[in-house]
């Protein structure tokens, strides 16, 4: 059987953080969303469908798995919406509906579909771009349609943070090997059951570190280093080669590989390869890859009047329904020292933002500079790409031609929203 992940048009709600990856590759708890479903079907061959402009870059990241290749559907195929969250009975729901051609909808969205090989060739093409009403209609004409209760499809990016926190405790057992293989100094104070702390090979926790696993487990990945004085409250997950410098890591954090962490962080996801090396608070937030948050960068995740946080989705301000919500920071964003992010701030890909002494605007488009309270195009895309090249090389990673092409494509896709705000800034200039 093939297991094919696809996106639907709700991916737009996840922009700009999903400009550089399919929604199903966004980290949630111990890994990307899609891995949770993959684990349920370990024998299946994985196939991925995503937006055209992402396919070359994503192919490099999932080497060996076909991306946007309908001809790879050479067997009966289970198509799964990458925004589908795992639940205890999800595998049972899915397998109960396999065997004949069927599409399972959840409030009008395709949650999953099972197509016999004979139909994959005919309908497979529909999955090569994000599924919308038109594609759903075409599928419905060919297969049985079912509505099933008990399925959850992600609709907004902040839901990923919610579920990440929920899943961290549950998924600990998938990565913990029981007895720690790394080094835990005798001077480390553990509150709670020590078995809920797992320190992987070549990882080190220095004397003076406090780890509290009473509310959830803590996983420290290979070659990671936790320096004193740090306090880590579980549940928390640190990927490979994380370095934590005198930090207060409060409950509900998930850090991908190669992050540098300091200050106070709470209920936050780092996709990986990003730095928040210094003091400053970050809470209820998402941070993409290759982000650098300057010293004292801080976000608000709670309004002073305790009202719901409003946040930009598809360039419109909407009520998140959450009292606590921080910021969403896309790949390659850089913040200067002392940058203060308003509650519910969204920062686009590769933007460079500096403190103006006041909380930031709630929306900073991709590929722009924000400083002295104004938006500008900065030194342009070429300069941003060169910076990315330097940043990545410092971690031994090369910027690929496919990534450069993606940035050029995204630069054009985001031009209008960026130039609108730059024009407004120019109109505010006084000479």
């Amino acid at each position: 059987m093939n297991l094919a992940f696809f996106e639907d048009i709700y991916y737009e709600n996840f922009l700009p953080i999903a400009y550089t990856r399919p929604v199903y590759e966004i980290r949630c708890s111990i890994g990307p969303l899609y891995q949770k479903i993959s684990r349920m079907f370990p024998e299946a061959k994985q196939v991925f469908f995503t937006r055209d402009y992402l396919a070359p870059v994503f192919s490099n990241r999932v080497k060996g798995s076909p991306v946007n290749r309908v001809e790879a559907l050479d067997d009966d195929t289970l198509f799964v919406n990458g925004a589908l969250l795992p639940s205890k009975n999800l595998k049972e729901i899915i397998t109960r509906n396999m065997g004949k051609n069927v599409v399972v909808l959840q409030q009008g969205r395709v949650a999953f579909a099972y197509l016999r090989e004979s139909l994959c060739g005919e309908l497979g093409d529909l999955f090569t771009k994000p599924i919308g009403d038109m594609e759903i209609q075409k599928i419905k004409e060919k297969v049985e349609v079912k509505e099933v209760d008990g399925l959850t499809l992600l609709e907004y990016p902040w839901e990923i943070i919610d579920y990440s926190v929920e899943l961290l405790s549950e998924e600990f057992s998938l990565v913990s090997k029981g007895e720690s293989e790394g080094y835990i100094d005798d001077g480390v104070k553990i509150y709670g059951d020590p078995k809920k702390l797992y320190v992987a090979r070549d990882a080190v926790i220095e004397a003076g570190v406090v780890i509290d696993v009473r509310k959830g487990p803590v996983y420290v990945g290979e070659e990671s280093l936790i320096q004193a004085p740090s306090r880590i409250d579980g549940p928390a997950y640190f990927g490979r080669d994380n370095q934590v410098f005198g930090a207060l890591i409060r409950e509900g954090c998930s850090f991908g590989d190669v992050c540098r962490l300091g200050g106070e962080i709470e209920e936050t996801i780092f996709q990986g390869y990003s730095n928040k090396r210094h003091r400053g608070f970050l809470g209820h937030s998402y941070v993409g890859e290759w982000v650098n948050l300057g010293a004292l960068t801080t976000n608000s995740d709670l309004k002073n009047d305790y009202s719901n946080v409003k946040i930009y989705v598809k360039q419109r301000l909407m009520d998140s329904g959450r009292i606590k919500l921080g910021c969403f920071i896309s790949d390659h964003v850089k913040t200067g020292i002392g940058f203060i992010m308003n509650t519910g701030t969204v920062i686009g890909v590769m933007s460079n933002v500096l403190s103006s002494g006041e909380p930031s605007p709630k929306l900073i488009p991709s590929f722009c500079w924000y400083f002295r309270g104004k938006f500008s195009k900065g030194l342009g895309l070429s300069s941003m790409i060169e910076t990315a090249r330097i940043v990545m090389s410092r971690r031994g990673v090369s910027l690929t031609d496919e990534e450069v092409q993606l940035f050029h494509k995204l630069y054009e896709l985001t031009r209008e929203e960026r130039e609108k705000l730059i024009r407004r800034s120019k109109a505010r200039r006084r000479f």
């Binding site: 500079w369 400083f371 002295r372 104004k374 500008s376 195009k377 900065g378 030194l379 070429s382 000479f431």
Partner: protein, 80 residues
């Protein structure tokens, strides 16, 4: 005001310098202490003042104030 006067006025306001200090032969980086943020702000201000588009790769070729003035004059000529 001439193009030269307008350019010098923008530079003086962004850098906080007296206009008399801004000579045509002054180099932005070495003589006026311009750094990247100033460059970005100057480009934006010039674009707004003269209603022109200044590509970053062209802007960085203007090493001196005089070169910037001539560049803008040329752009205005092109636009005319």
């Amino acid at each position: 005001m001439s193009v030269e006067e307008r350019v010098k006025k923008i530079i003086s306001e962004i850098l906080g310098l007296d206009e008399s200090e801004i000579k045509r032969e002054a180099r932005f980086v070495e003589d006026l202490g311009v750094e990247s943020l100033d460059v970005v702000e100057m480009i934006a201000a010039m674009e707004e003042e003269f209603n022109i588009e200044i590509p970053e790769e062209e802007a960085e070729k203007n090493v001196t104030v005089g070169e910037a003035i001539e560049y803008i004059k040329k752009k205005l000529g092109e636009n005319a």
